[in-house]
Symmetry: C2
C-alpha cells in the first residue's frame, strides 16, 4: 500500500509518501514540504496549503493518508494554525474518498523507534535506515511525515481494514 | 455591505448573514446552522462543513466573511474541531477572494452589547433587537454568527479597508 504522511503546519507542512506492507522492505516515493509565508494572511496560507496537498495527492496517488493528531497541549502560539493545516489535509483526502488515519506523535515514535519518547534525531535516523536513504531527509517536518507514513503502513493498515469492516457491518446512520 | 458571520463548530456551525453599514439600520439576510453527526469520521464531518459553507456562500453572496477567532484556551475537548471548522470557513472565503476577518468573542460582545463579558442571552437579546426580529434566533450558535456579522459591519469594515489600503501600498512579497 502507498501511504502519504502529513506533518501539518502553516509555515512548513511536511509531506512524505512510502510504499510498503508489514514485514516487507519499505520504499520511498517522495518527500518534501509545502511552505507558506508568515507574512501572508491566514486565508491565503490555507489556500496555499490546500493547493500544495492537492498537488501531492495528484502526483503520489496514495491508497491512504496519515495525519499527525494535533493536541491543544502543543505549542499554544502555533497550535491553531497546525490544527487548521491538519484539518485541510483530512478534508482533501476525505473529498477523494481516501481513508484517513490520525496518529499521535507518541504512536509514531513508538512504531518507528520502539520508544514513545524518542527525539527528532532518533526518528530521522530510523526513517533514513528503514528507507535505505543516503542521508537524513530535511527539514525535520519532512522526516516526520515519512515516519507517519511508515507508522501507518505498519499499524494503521490493520486499523483501517477493521474500521472499514465495522462500517460495512453497522447500520447506516450518517446524518447532517 | 453584506457580511456572513461564522460561529465555527463541527457539531453545529452557526451561520448568519446581515446587510448594513455603520450608522444605518441592519437587515437580516439569513440565519441557520450546518450540522454534522458526532458519529461520523472527522473527514466526513469536514467535507460536510465545507459543502454547507459553500452552499451558504453561493446563496448569500457576501462581500466579506467574519469568523470567530478560536483560542487554545477554549474547551480543550472540542477546540481542535472548532479550529478546523474555522479554518475551512476561512479557506472557502479566501478561495473566492472574499475578505476574511477574525474577531474574538470579547470583541463581538463589546461591539454588540458594550461589554466584553456579556453572556449568550444578552448577545441573543441584542441581536434580536438590532435586527428587529420577532424572536431570538436559535440555537445560540446561529445568534452568535449574526453577532459576528454585525460586529464586522460596525468595526470590521473599517479594518478591511485599512488592510486593503496597506496591501496596495506594500511591495509584493507573497511567497510559497
Amino acid at each position: 500500500m502507498r501511504v502519504l504522511g502529513v506533518d501539518p503546519g502553516l509555515t512548513r507542512c511536511g509531506l512524505g509518501a512510502v510504499e510498503g506492507r508489514p514485514g516487507a522492505p519499505l520504499g520511498l516515493i517522495a518527500v518534501g514540504v509545502v511552505r507558506t509565508g508568515s507574512d501572508q494572511e491566514l486565508g491565503a496560507r490555507l489556500v496555499g496549503i490546500e493547493a500544495g496537498i492537492e498537488q501531492w495527492l495528484d502526483d503520489v496517488r496514495p491508497d491512504a493518508v496519515a495525519v499527525e493528531r494535533v493536541f491543544a497541549q502543543h505549542n499554544v502560539r502555533t497550535v491553531m494554525g497546525t490544527a487548521q493545516a491538519a484539518g485541510i489535509a483530512v478534508l482533501c483526502a476525505a473529498r477523494r474518498g481516501l481513508p484517513v488515519a490520525l496518529h499521535t506523535p507518541s504512536e509514531v515514535k513508538a512504531a518507528i523507534t520502539g520508544s514513545g519518547t524518542a527525539d527528532k534525531k532518533q526518528i530521522g535516523a530510523m526513517v533514513t535506515r528503514l528507507l535505505r536513504l543516503a542521508e537524513m531527509p530535511k527539514p525535520a517536518d519532512a522526516a516526520d511525515a515519512l515516519a507517519l507514513a511508515i507508522c501507518h503502513v505498519w499499524r494503521g493498515g490493520a486499523q483501517s481494514r477493521l474500521a472499514a469492516a465495522l462500517a460495512r457491518a453497522a447500520p447506516k446512520n450518517a446524518r447532517r
